[in-house]
Amino acid sequence: MSDVEAVLTLERAEPGIGPRRKRKRVGRKGWVLPVYMALAIAYLFIPIGVMILFGFNNFKGKFNFTWEGFTLRHWRELFIFRDLTIALENSLLIAAIVTVISTVLGTLIALALTRHKFRGRSGTNLFIFLPMATPEVVMGASLLALFVTIGLARGLVTILISHIMFDISFVVVTVKARTQGFNTEWEEAAKDLGATPWVTFWTVTFPLILPGIMAAAALAFALSIDDYVVTTFNAGQTVTFPLWVFGASRFGVPPQVNVMGTIIFAVGVVLALLNVALQRRRV
């Protein structure tokens, strides 16, 4: 046993022997940090609570700013604003199409990056990262300039193009996090047992990375349905849910927006929790 070790073991056994400085325990329990965390999380919840609450507000005036009593009126009359309903339908349609296409394209890239060695891989990684590091306003403005230059009329198609563009990178990163983790032995085993690459992929690889793909698809959907900045540059006359809400903010947002926001929020949370529960069961 070396001297150092001897000193250390002694130290551990009889703390009193060491220098007479008091040893403070690192990571001691206290109440300040938990209280702070509760406050910080409450702060994050405030606007969500306000959104939900004011969907039930029985207000009379023009602006839905102060609490005037409980009502379910806005839930019953959810679709009385025709253009708001159309905007929501547009957003859902766009998000659905964008999710499918960007999830497929992004997953293919993620597979190439993690399962294959090829020249230009680090360059590809960097290139995938760039759209996430570019301010949205620049992406939106540059796409607008491009569409104007090539004379492509702005509308549903240009919105789809732009959303798929900014979603791909997020899908790649999310799926990659999953494909990087698991070992390739299972795939090797399938190959050794005579499975073709095609069969190996669908019976071994795909089920293993499916949770990652689901998470990526959920993220892609959320980013698309929520996007205002890129969309406003490329929407033309087409109106999406965030565009409608932004436009309405000037003359007072109807409580139907709160109700729709609440429903989207609830569906999102339930789906996320279901995904977690399913993954837990699988493991």
Partner: protein, 291 residues
């Protein structure tokens, strides 16, 4: 022969499969991300008008004009971004630290709570603050009724409202990378610091903080970059005195149809962000941060 070939042919086949997998997605990004940004550089050098069309005249003067005309917004965007990033770091670090070190079995639930705002539309979240901070709304209205605030006191349409809105919206972007860095930290290092008679303060400053710097760096970038380009908060919570570069780009591109000016401002914004990121990386002084 048939035995010797497989390894080479398989790797070559693997490579061509890789390119096939990459092609559709990369092509999409090349055409709709890289090309537009490259194209925009030429747009920024055009002159003309929306009615008569824009011609490429290599008019670099636009950049100087734009900096002269919009330097207030440029400076304001950078100052707001710095304040918001610093504020998010101050609010977010203890939160991320608490989740990573004291979260225990609640870690995932707490993280889920941090990202909960993402389930509400960005525009609605920002508008919520407009409700909350309204001149006669639930907070200010009440305080005014109790005569705790003068009647003409307001938060909306000031810099404070814009900064507060930005700070709220981008806080989770700061917390998540900080959490990832702190969660990786080996608790035995802190025990070692304690065994070596370091008090909690020193242990934090000498062990925890330096090891969490990559998270600080990543979180700062994820906050600073989108904040510098944001115009939603300035539009919804601010006034003409709080416009940022994003607002100018939006106005030039969508209302004035002055594409060269909008394009030039976009490049100035990107240049400002790149310089900021570079300086910040040098300040933190760790080259491996980016690796």
């Amino acid at each position: 022969m048939a035995v010797a070939v497989p390894s080479r042919s398989r790797s070559r086949r693997g490579r061509s499969v890789a390119y096939l997998l990459l092609a559709p997605g990369l092509l999409w990004l090349l055409v709709f991300f890289a090309w537009p940004i490259g194209q925009m550089f030429f747009t920024s050098l055009q002159t003309g008008s929306f009615e008569e069309g824009y011609q490429l005249t290599w008019h670099f003067q636009t950049y100087a004009d734009v900096v002269g005309q919009f330097n207030t917004q440029l400076v304001r965007s950078l100052v707001y971004s710095l304040i918001v990033t610093g504020g998010c770091l101050l609010i977010g670090y203890p939160l991320a630290y608490g989740i990573a070190m004291r979260g225990g079995k609640w870690k995932n639930a707490l993280l889920f709570m941090v990202i909960l705002p993402f389930f509400v539309s960005f525009v609605i979240r920002t508008l919520s603050w407009k409700f909350i901070l309204a001149d006669d709304g639930m907070v200010l209205g009440t305080l005014k009724n109790w005569h705790l605030l003068p009647d003409d006191f307001r938060v909306l349409a000031t810099s404070i409202a814009v900064i507060a809105g930005l700070m709220y919206n981008f806080l989770p972007f700061m917390v998540l990378p900080l959490y990832v860095a702190l969660e990786k930290l080996d608790p035995s290092l802190l025990e070692a610091a304690g065994d070596l008679y370091s008090n909690r303060r020193t242990a934090f400053l000498k062990v925890t903080l330096p090891l969490s710097l990559p998270g600080v760096f990543a979180g700062s970038l994820l906050t600073f970059i989108p904040v510098a380009g944001d115009f939603v908060n300035a539009s919804l919570l601010g006034s003409v005195n709080t416009t940022m570069l994003g607002n100018v780009i939006q106005r030039e591109m969508l209302i004035n149809n002055d594409y060269p000016t909008g394009a030039a401002i976009s490049f100035i914004l990107m240049a400002a962000i790149l310089i900021g990121v570079f300086v910040y990386a040098r300040l933190l002084g760790t080259e491996e941060l980016t690796g």
